[in-house]
Amino acid sequence: MSANLPAQEAAHIAPRPFFRTPVTEAPLIKFTLIAIGLAFIVAMIFLPLAAVFFEAFRRGAEPFFAALVEPDALSAIRLTLFVAAISVPANLAFGLVASWAIAKFEFKGKSFLITLIDLPFSVSPVISGLVYILLFGSYGFIGPWLIAHGYQIVFAVPGIVLATIFVTFPFVARQLIPLMEQQGKGDEEAALSLGATGLQTFFRVTLPNIKWALLYGVLLCNARAMGEFGAVSVVSGHIRGKTNTMPLHVEILYNEYNFVAAFAVASLLAFLALVTLVLKSVLEWRYSGELAASSRH
């Protein structure tokens, strides 16, 4: 027993082969955690993404492209682009106006107003569609009057645009407000004191300061506008070739057991999501200082 003691002491003094600082984990634990974490991300994120493209090309490239150039698919793509082309600029304009009023002035009830702007994030997409049916439907509050005068809002393109604006409402504003509050109003006050008009100040001072955050907000707004399903599904009426957006077209094809075509159109939307993610990551890496700290969506 006693002969072992010096050897034990030596083992304590000699540097251990895998020395770790007390604020890290043992290598084995570390690798286990990385393995579990990455396996979870692979199973929940990468596998579904891969499955979309795999199913789309299951029968080769020909049926894939045939599904994309078929007239109903083309009209769905056109409608999706049309809806985004209206709803994204609408929310861009709203975002700029609202963030100027909210970030550049001090007033009571500011955080309550921001909460109201954030409301659509907490509302189920289906309810976002339902509210317009209750307003503009043929049994709605003002629907009968509008329909009698020849204006069809729901189960038509205007309803799809409205529902899309509803669900994407906060995207631009919530990117701009925290950033503009952080930047303060010193630059604008300097410009005004040097004789710039209000609009000159906005376009030459404020806009350059927020351009990357604005682009970031528009990017996320556009992705959601093109991909929205629940709200649009409720108000669209699903008229093929007329009121079908790309996500709705995917659903119809899938319910008709036309899986290759459904996944082909879905893969186009997935590709759009990937492009959005890449651009978003580039913006985050290059201009992180010029984006607001929070990005909830």
Binding site: V23, G37, M44, F105, F107, S122, S124, P125, A223
Partner: protein
Amino acid sequence: MNSLATSLRPAPSVLPGWGITMGLTLTWLSLIILIPLAGVFIKSAGLGWDEFWRLALDPRTVAALKLSFGAALIAAGVNVVFGFLAAWVLVRYEFPGKRLFDAAIDLPFALPTAVAGLAFTALYAPNGWLGSWLVPLGIKVAYTPLGIVVALIFIGLPFVVRSVQPVLADFDRELEEASATLGATRLQTVVKVILPALLPSLLTGFALAFARGVGEYGSIIFIAGNIPYVSEIAPLLIVIRLEEFNYAGATSIAAIMLVISFALLLLINLLQAWNRRRTGIQA
């Protein structure tokens, strides 16, 4: 609207445009969001108290609401565990492809929900990549409530990770060193020093994921199987009632969901304020 804007009266400022920008903001907000949402409550009030509760307590409605809230609760719970783990791995460790994995976390924000629903159905169907392994083991995911939970884990994951990540990255390592020098084991340091500091951000992520999961529609309807009383979620029941032209039925479900969503939103705001006070970080 403009008179309301001016009556809010901001602190004096030399910047122009208060009246017009605040007026436009309130007008647009009211027209697009507030008035349409108010319609749900006006319509519900028009039903009368008894009729509203008769519709709301319809067994099929109750089953759908229970499923939506229950599945969202389980999925948010799973996301707290794995989202924390993913955030920990992404913040604390270096490994090849880290940036790719970090960027991929946001996919659920960018991927249209219908596409996600299709993808999970393909994966977990009996002949899918994962289903062909799981079904022989007796684990059925597609066309069961378990499938709903899986889809909601996907939808909620980025909320938890993105809430926890900045707080963890900003965490003062000296506190961990102090804890270690005082004799705590690594596990004790993590559980008693780090986790309490992350608690507000974990709860925020949980609440955000839960709130989003309750209302989720697109990613679920493909994988759920949509059997009444078993795997029929509340948003789908709203759609079914609308297709039956049963507007009263649809509205009563919507009103209940809205009230609970607004309560959750209030809770989230309180949690975020708590988080800001503790860490100074907008999660």
